[in-house]
Symmetry: none
Subunit: 127 residues, 4 copies
DNA sequence: GTGGTCTAGACCACG
DNA sequence: GTGGTCTAGACCACC
C-alpha cells in the first residue's frame, strides 16, 4: 500500500493518512475485503508515531470504510455502508471551487480540472 | 450580509466565517468596494465572540481579499493580487471529489453537482 | 508643502503625515521658522478628517519639532531641541535592517541603499 | 532564546516578539531547523499571556519563517520563500534614517551606526 | 463610531 | 507534552 506524507501539507499527519487511504479505496486500488497492513507496519514505514496511524484507522472505521477487529487487522468494507449527509459532502466541494474561482480560474478550465481528477478516481472502478 | 455558522461543522468558527465571506465575494454578492459590517456587528449577529470575527477579518486581509483599516472598517478589495500554487488549490478539490466517489455518487452526477455549484459562483460575476 | 497619502500604506494616516513632515524638515525643505499651513488647509488638501491632521501636528509638537500656538499656526523649531533616547532611534533602524537581511539582500547592497537614502536627506542641509 | 519586552516600546507586545525572533534568525542565532521553545514557555518567561506569543508564532509562520505544527512545536525554516517588494523594505529604512537625521546625528556617524548593526546581523550567517 | 491588543482561563486536537 | 480555538471582558488607538 503506497502512502506518502507531505511535510509541507497543512493537514495533520493522521488526516493525510485518512485522505490517502480514502483515495486508494475510491480509486479501486484497495477493493472490498483487502486486509490493510498493521498499524505498526504503516507507522514504521512512514516513520511516524503509532498513535497517528491508529487514529487514522479508527476514523476510517467510524466512517464505515474499514472493519477493524482485534487481532484480525483492518479490512476494507463495501462502500455502500458509508453514511453521509449531503451537506457534509457539498461543503468541502463548494469551498474548493470557491478558491479556484477567487484564483481567477475560468469556468471552463475548472470543469476540465474536475473532469481530470474524476478520470483518475474512476479509472479502475466498476460502478 | 448573510452568514451562518454550522455547529456540527468540523471547521473552527473563524474558518467558517472566512469561507462564507470568500464565497460571497466569489459569487459577486460583495463587489469590490463594499464595506463589510463591523466586527462587533457580525459577532453579535452570529452570537460569537468579537475576537473570533476579528481573526476572520484579519485572515482575509492577509490573503489580500479585504482592506481592513483602523477606525474605518473592512472594505472588499479587487481580486487581482491573489497568488496561488496549483497544488494548494488542487488538493482540497481532489479530497472533496474523493468523498463524493466514496459516497457512491456516479460520475455523471458529480459533474452535475459541480456544474451547479459553479453556476452559483459565476452567476453575478463580471469578469 | 507637498504631502501625499498612500492608501495601501499600512501606517495610519496621521502617522504618514507625521513621517512626511519629518522628512521635509530633515531634508531642509522646511527650515526653522517656517509656518506650516493650517490644520484645516492640510485636511482639505488631503481630503481627510480634520482630527487626523490635528493629531499629527500635536504629535510633532510633543516631539519638539513644531511650535504650535493658538491663533498663530505651527512653526518649525530648531532641530536641536528635540529629545531622543538612543534606543528609540536604534530600534527602528535595527528592525528595518533585519528585514533587508531576511530578504536576502547582501551587506554591500544594503550599505549602498542606506547611502542613497542619506544622500537624499542631507542634500540641502548644512549640518 | 533570549527575548526581552520593552514596556515603553510603542509596538504591541506580539510585534516586539516577532521582531526579536526575526533578528535572532537574521543574525544566525536560530539556524534552520532549530526548535523554538513552546508558546507556553515563552509566555511564562516574558510574563505575558499565552495568546500573545501564539499570535507572534502564527505571524512568523504566515511569513514563512517558522514551521509551526500542531503538537510538535515551532521550527525555524530555511529562508528561501520570502517574497518582498522593494518599497515595503525601503519605507521603514527611510523612516528610521529620517529620525536619526532629525536627532542631529551627522551623516558619518549614521553610516557608522548602520555598519555596526549590520556587523551584528551578518556575524554568524553562512550565506 | 471603528478595529487592535491583551488578559485569564477554559477546552479541544495532535503526536 | 505540544499548539489551536474560544469566551468574556477590559482598555487603547484611529477617524
Amino acid at each position: 500500500m503506497y502512502i506518502k506524507l507531505t511535510p509541507d501539507d497543512p493537514r495533520p499527519q493522521y488526516q493525510q493518512v485518512i485522505d490517502e487511504i480514502k483515495a486508494l479505496i475510491a480509486r479501486g486500488d484497495l477493493p472490498e475485503g483487502t486486509i490493510l497492513p498493521s498499524v505498526r507496519q504503516v507507522a514504521a514505514d512512514l516513520g511516524v508515531n503509532l498513535n497517528t496511524i491508529a487514529a487514522a484507522y479508527r476514523a476510517l472505521q467510524d466512517e464505515g470504510l474499514l472493519d477493524v477487529r482485534h487481532g484480525r487487522g483492518a479490512v476494507v468494507r463495501s462502500r455502500t455502508t458509508a453514511t453521509h449527509n449531503e451537506g457534509q459532502l457539498r461543503t468541502p466541494l463548494r469551498t474548493a471551487l470557491t478558491q479556484l474561482v477567487l484564483a481567477g480560474m475560468p469556468r471552463a478550465e475548472i470543469m476540465r480540472l474536475v473532469s481530470d481528477e474524476l478520470a483518475g478516481l474512476f479509472k479502475r472502478v466498476k460502478s
